[in-house]
């Protein structure tokens, strides 16, 4: 029963959405199923929060390696949660001036805004910006033209790297039919043109093949799940 009910819900939901897609009369049923999905997705935030608390509280109580970081996570999470749910420090809304916390929580000056502006935003931006440093280091250490494939990859990378900047335009600007009429047959070799060609022909072809393969895989796997042949998503017995 523990596995049968989730399997039936999955099969019913999946087949309903498939039928709703192809038969307009069933469309409203499909909408209802999708709204259930949205409600579940909202509840997943609570589960996610609960899981985060469980994992990090255990780290702290066990004093396992790096427990201090878990403590930082817990404090940050609880403070943000309290400020967000309690709308702490939110100024009154112009529509409801008599109610102290009626304004939007994200409004400048509010505590939630402060956490976002001075903690979340700089931290996430910094982590993402650090990629540039690691990419440069990794390129120096790992990118070697060891064989023909690697050489082609390297050449393509150079063309794209140059083509995404003004250097690409500058380096091959001499391939100009106004300088010599014979260049009209070679304008396709200008780096900015080559970049567009690589992206729109080679990349598209490769990606399309991968996407079709993935889509076929998804169809096969989905059918197995809906028919109850694949039960791995339910976990172990």
């Amino acid at each position: 029963m523990k596995r049968l009910v989730p399997m039936l819900i999955t099969a019913a939901g999946g087949f309903l959405l498939i039928v709703a897609y192809f038969i307009p009369y069933w469309q409203s049923w499909g909408e209802k199923a999708t709204i259930w999905f949205d409600v579940l997705a909202s509840i997943a935030f609570i589960l996610g929060g609960g899981n985060l608390l469980k994992v990090h509280l255990k780290h702290v109580s066990d004093r396992s390696r790096g427990w201090g970081y878990s403590l930082v996570v817990l404090v940050s999470f609880l403070v943000t949660l309290a400020v967000g749910l309690g709308k702490v420090g939110v100024p009154p809304s112009p529509q409801f001036p008599a109610f102290a916390w009626s304004g939007p929580y994200g409004q400048p000056g509010g505590a939630f805004w402060f956490l976002y502006e001075y903690a979340f935003k700089p931290l996430t931006s910094t982590i993402f910006a650090m990629l540039a440093f690691y990419i440069a280091s990794a390129a120096f250490r790992a990118f070697r033209a060891k064989n023909l494939h690697a050489f082609l990859l390297l050449g393509t990378a150079f063309i794209i790297l140059l083509g995404r900047t003004f250097a690409g335009v500058l380096l091959t600007s001499w391939i100009d039919p106004s300088i010599w009429s014979g260049f009209q047959y070679f304008t396709g070799l200008r780096i900015e043109v080559l970049t567009v060609y690589i992206m729109s022909v080679f990349t598209t072809a490769g990606n399309r093949a991968i996407m079709i393969g993935i889509a076929l895989g998804i169809v096969a796997t989905s059918l197995r799940v809906l028919l109850g042949l694949d039960r791995s998503y339910l976990g172990k017995e």
């Binding site: 949205d38 979340f120 440069a136």
Partner: protein
């Protein structure tokens, strides 16, 4: 001011850069180029990247110079999709990103908001990412409230905020908007918002503009909105790592795309050429300004790869000779 004049005025900067890498030069002299490069501490590479990004930012900040941009076909297609619309047409702007991707995507969001405001289109902002509403608020503050004060909230633009459910949200609002959106981001009932009248689903939108940093984003808009309802038009501004994945959707499912900061810079140029005036506000030149650091950083990466490969082949040849 050209580069030489800049360096003449800012000579101290050159001194700081040279002093910071001086120990590396000293190592080259004492140990030999090959040995130093073979055992190069990655912190030297970090330092070079730091200067490669910082110096152009400083140069562009002082001089205001930017590189000329030639808009690509995709940027022009994106621009034309908005240009073909008439005053008062409804446009959905879905800002599905967070501050981590802001370096690439905020200039696009700014340029899109400005272009749509210049065209006097009705703007319906929404987000599939939890931090999206903040991105929307920033764009509204940066563009609409400061440069288009005549636009009225609820009549000309509305912030519908974030809804959880990723593609589930798209699947619902594409046929029934009010099943999910009963209020705007500030808690006002949609029935009390004048511009929501007659908007019962997003098929009413003349265009969907999506600024996306990943899941849920452009791919989901293509799959769950445009593909089942081909009359919908979609343009997107996406991060560099995502852009190659969306080429297969162009042009039938995705009608225009700005890829990374380069796409943003091309689009900024198109908007400035048409609406910018002689002296545009620097906030509308952000992507164009960021092409400088991108150029020097890319050249540094190419240089590092070339040096590493020269070293590799030299070692290989020596091994073969022995």
């Amino acid at each position: 001011m050209n580069v030489v004049e800049f360096l003449t005025h800012q000579w101290w900067l050159l001194v700081v850069v040279v002093l910071s890498v001086w120990p590396l030069f000293a190592q080259f002299r004492s140990l030999g180029t090959e040995k130093v490069l073979r055992t190069l501490d990655r912190r030297w590479i970090f330092l070079l990247m730091f200067w490669a990004v910082l110096l152009p930012i400083y140069y562009i900040g002082v001089t205001g110079d930017t590189f000329p941009e030639v808009p690509s076909v995709l940027s022009e297609a994106t621009f034309d999709e908005i240009e073909r619309l008439n005053e008062g047409d409804p446009v959905l702007l879905s800002f599905d990103f967070d501050p981590a991707s802001g370096g690439e995507l905020i200039p696009m969001a700014t340029a899109f908001t400005r272009h749509v405001a210049e065209k006097k289109l009705k703007m319906y902002f929404m987000a599939l990412w939890p931090v999206g509403p903040q991105m929307i608020d920033e764009s509204i503050e940066r563009v609409i409230r400061s440069d288009f004060p005549e636009l009225v909230y609820g009549q000309d633009y509305v912030n519908l905020g974030f809804k959880s459910g990723n593609e589930g949200v798209i699947k619902v609002i594409v046929t029934n908007f009010r099943e999910l959106y009963t209020t705007d981001s500030y808690g006002t009932a949609v029935e009390k918002i004048p511009m929501m009248e007659g908007i019962d689903n997003i098929q009413r939108m003349r265009l969907i503009i999506n600024v996306s940093a990943g899941y849920a984003g452009t791919k989901e808009w293509v799959q769950y909105a445009v593909t089942p309802y081909p009359a919908l038009r979609l343009v997107a501004g996406v991060t560099g790592v995502q852009a190659p994945l969306f080429y297969p959707y162009i042009p039938r499912q995705l009608h225009g795309m700005l890829g990374a900061i380069k796409g943003a810079a091309e689009y900024e140029k198109l908007v400035i050429d048409k609406y910018g005036g002689a002296n545009p506000d620097p906030k509308y030149l952000e992507a164009l300004r960021r092409m400088g650091p991108q150029l020097v950083a890319h050249l540094l990466i190419i240089g590092l790869i070339v040096v590493a490969n020269v070293l590799y082949f030299a070692e290989k040849r020596r091994g073969a000779t022995r």
